[in-house]
Symmetry: C2
Subunit: 368 residues, 2 copies
C-alpha cells in the first residue's frame, strides 16, 4: 500500500475532512503543525492517554501553538455526560477560547464524541481535529462528523453533526492497547467489511491473528486506512443518515440496548456490537440469509475471543429498544445482512424480536 | 399591506423557514395543523405564557397532535442554562420523543433560544417551530436559525444553528405585553431599520406612539413582517455570520457586556441593546458619522422611554468585552453606522474604547 492510500478526503456540507493514517506518533505533529501554529489550542483528553502518549504525539504541537490548554475528562463513557460537557464549556470560556481557537481530541471514541459535541456547540462551532488513540476511534468514532452525549436511559441521544477538519491516526499507538480493546475495535471494522467491503473482510480474515498478536505492524495502517475509506464513502453518500448510512448501525441496535441495560462501561462498546451482530445474524437467517455467510462472520467474531455475554434483563432490553433514537413510528429498524456485502433495513414485529431475543439469550448466556 | 406580504421564506442549507405573521392567535392553529397532525408534539414554554395564551393559541394543535407534552421552563434568561437544557433532554427522552417528534417553542426570546438548542441537539436534530409571544422574539430571536445558552461569564456562548421549519407570530399577543417590554422589542426593529431598511425606520418613526400606546392594531403586523423580512434577507445572504450578518450585532457588543456585568435579567435584552446602540453612535460619531443621523436615532430611542442605564462597573465591562464570542485575534468588532442605512465593522484600539466608555457612563449615568 502506498502512502497516498493512507490518506483520503471526506467531503461534507461545510468543507472536507482529511483522514490521514500514519504509523509513528511522531508523524502526527507534522500533519497538524500548520493547523495549530499561532493558535490557541484546547486539547480534550484523559489523563492516562496524556501521560502515556502525550509528549510523543503532541509535544511538537504544544510548542507550536500560541497557547496550549489541556482539558482532562474521565476515561470511557463516563466522559459523555451533560455534566462533563457543561464543565468543558465553562473551562473553554475561562481558558479564553474564541471563535478562532482550535479543539483537538486525543483519546478513544468517548473523547471524540464528547470533544466534538463541545467543539460543535461552543460559540456555534470551533474548528476541530481528532487524534484517535484506540482502534475503535480510529476506524469509527473519529470518522463521519457525529458527536454524542449519553443520558442515563439512552446512549448517544444528545449530539450534533460537527465535522473535524482533520483526523490523524497513528497505528503505533495501538501496540499499547490490551488485546481485549483491540478485539473490540476490530468489531467495527468487521461490521463495515461484512456489508460494504469484502476485500477488507478477506484481509481481516487473513491478518486477524497477527493483528491481535502484536505482529501487525504496517498491516494495521492498511486495515485502519481501508476501514476509514469504507466509512468515508458511506458518509459522503449519505451524510445525515437518511438512507445508506444506516448500514453502520449493523449490530448497534441490540448493542446499544445491551450497553444501557448493563450500565455504560460494563460492556465495552465493541463487544456490545459484536453481540448485536450475532443477534442480527440470527434475525437475518430467519429472513433467509445464507447460513454459510452467517457462519463465516460468526467464525471471524469468535476468533476475537470476546468474553461471553453477561445475562441481560430481557424485559428491560425490550423497553430500552423502544427508546432507540433510530426508532420510527413503525418501530425499531434492524440492519440485517442479506448476502455477502449486501444488507437491508428491516422493521420487525415487536413480538418476533422478543421471541428471538429469548432464544438468543438462552443460546449465548447458557452458563451464566 | 396584503396578507401575502405577511409571509416570507428564509432559505437555508437544510431547506427553508416559512415566516408567517397573523393577527389573531386563533389563526396560529391553522398555520401549523398539518405540521402537528398525528405527531408527538413537545411544547417548550413557561407557565405564565401558557396560562395566559395557551388554550387560545395552541388548543386546536393540542387536540390534533397524537401526543401532546408541555415542558415548562423558567421565565426569561433563567431558562438558558446548561442545567435547564439537561433537564429538557431528560424530559424529552422520558416523554418518548423520537426523531419524528416535533418541538414547538411558545414564549419569548429565551424560550426560542433554549428550545432551538435542545431541539437541535436531541437525536442530532428534531423538527422545530417557533410561536413567539413577545415582540423581541417575533422580530428577532425566532428568525435566523440561532440557538443559545448562557454561561455565568458570557451570554449566548453555547449554541448551534438549527432552523425552525416555521415561525408563526400572532401580533394580538403583543397587546398584553407591558409597555416596557414592547419598547425593548422595538429596539431590535430600530436596530435593523437604521442600518438596513430606511422605509421601516420611517414607519417606526411615524407609528411609534400608536404602537406603544396600544393603538397599534394592524400596524403591528406590518412592522413585525417588515422586520422579519429584513432580517431574513440578511440571514439568507450570510447564514453563518461570515460577513453581512454581523450587522445584526449593532448595539449588541456593549449590550451583551452590560447584561453580563449587571447579571442576566436585571437589564432586559432590548434595553441593553438600546444602551449599546447609543454607545455605538458615540463611537461612530468619533469616526465621522453625520451628527444628524445620530441625533435622529437617539431621538427615536428616547421616545421608547427606556429607563436610564444603571451604573456599570466599567473595569468589569472592559474585561467582559474581551470574552465577546465575536472577538477575533485583533480584538472586538464594533458594528457602527456610517450613514443612514449604511454601516461598517470596525476594530477599535482597547484604550480608545475604554476612554469612550468613561465618557459614555459619565454622560448617561450622571445621576445614578
Amino acid at each position: 500500500v502506498s502512502l497516498a492510500e493512507r490518506r483520503c478526503e471526506l467531503p461534507h456540507d461545510r468543507g472536507s475532512t482529511a483522514l490521514v493514517v500514519v504509523e509513528e506518533p511522531a508523524a502526527i505533529g507534522s500533519e497538524l503543525l500548520d493547523w495549530v501554529e499561532g493558535r490557541s489550542l484546547h486539547v480534550v483528553t484523559s489523563r492516562p492517554i496524556l501521560e502515556m502518549h502525550g509528549e510523543e504525539a503532541l509535544g511538537g504541537l504544544s510548542r507550536a501553538a500560541r497557547d496550549w490548554q489541556v482539558h482532562e475528562v474521565p476515561d470511557g463513557e463516563a466522559a459523555k455526560t451533560p455534566e462533563v460537557a457543561g464543565r468543558l464549556w465553562h473551562d473553554l470560556l475561562a481558558g479564553g477560547a474564541r471563535r478562532d481557537s482550535r479543539v483537538l481530541t486525543f483519546g478513544g471514541g468517548s473523547v471524540c464524541d464528547l470533544g466534538a459535541f463541545v467543539a460543535g456547540t461552543f460559540m456555534r462551532g470551533l474548528a476541530l481535529c481528532h487524534v484517535p488513540t484506540t482502534l475503535l476511534a480510529q476506524v469509527d468514532a473519529a470518522v463521519g462528523g457525529k458527536s454524542a452525549l449519553n443520558l442515563a436511559a439512552a446512549k448517544n441521544v444528545v449530539g450534533v453533526f460537527h465535522h473535524p477538519e482533520r483526523v490523524v491516526a497513528s497505528t503505533r499507538l495501538l501496540a499499547t492497547l490490551p488485546r481485549r480493546e483491540l478485539a473490540a475495535g476490530l468489531v467495527e471494522a468487521i461490521k463495515m467489511a461484512a456489508l460494504l467491503d469484502l476485500d477488507l473482510l478477506a484481509a481481516l480474515e487473513r491478518d486477524l491473528d497477527d493483528l491481535l498478536g502484536g505482529a501487525g505492524g504496517p498491516a494495521w495502517a492498511d486495515i485502519v486506512a481501508a476501514a476509514q475509506r469504507t466509512k468515508a464513502g458511506v458518509v459522503t453518500r449519505d451524510p445525515r443518515e437518511a438512507g445508506e448510512r444506516r448500514v453502520l448501525n449493523f449490530g448497534h441496535t441490540l448493542g446499544h440496548a445491551l450497553e444501557v441495560d448493563l450500565d455504560f462501561g460494563v460492556l465495552p462498546h465493541g463487544e456490545a456490537v459484536a453481540h448485536g451482530m450475532r443477534f442480527a445474524l440470527q434475525l437475518a437467517e430467519a429472513r433467509g440469509l445464507d447460513r454459510g455467510f452467517a457462519q463465516r462472520l460468526e467464525a471471524l467474531l469468535a476468533r476475537l475471543g470476546i468474553p461471553p455475554l453477561p445475562r441481560p434483563d430481557t424485559r428491560n432490553l425490550l423497553r430500552v429498544l423502544q427508546h432507540d433514537k433510530k426508532a420510527g413510528p413503525e418501530g425499531v429498524i434492524w440492519v440485517l445482512p442479506t448476502a455477502p456485502g449486501r444488507w437491508e433495513a428491516a422493521r420487525l414485529p415487536g413480538d418476533q424480536v422478543a421471541a428471538e431475543l429469548e432464544v438468543f439469550v438462552a443460546r449465548h448466556c447458557g452458563a451464566c
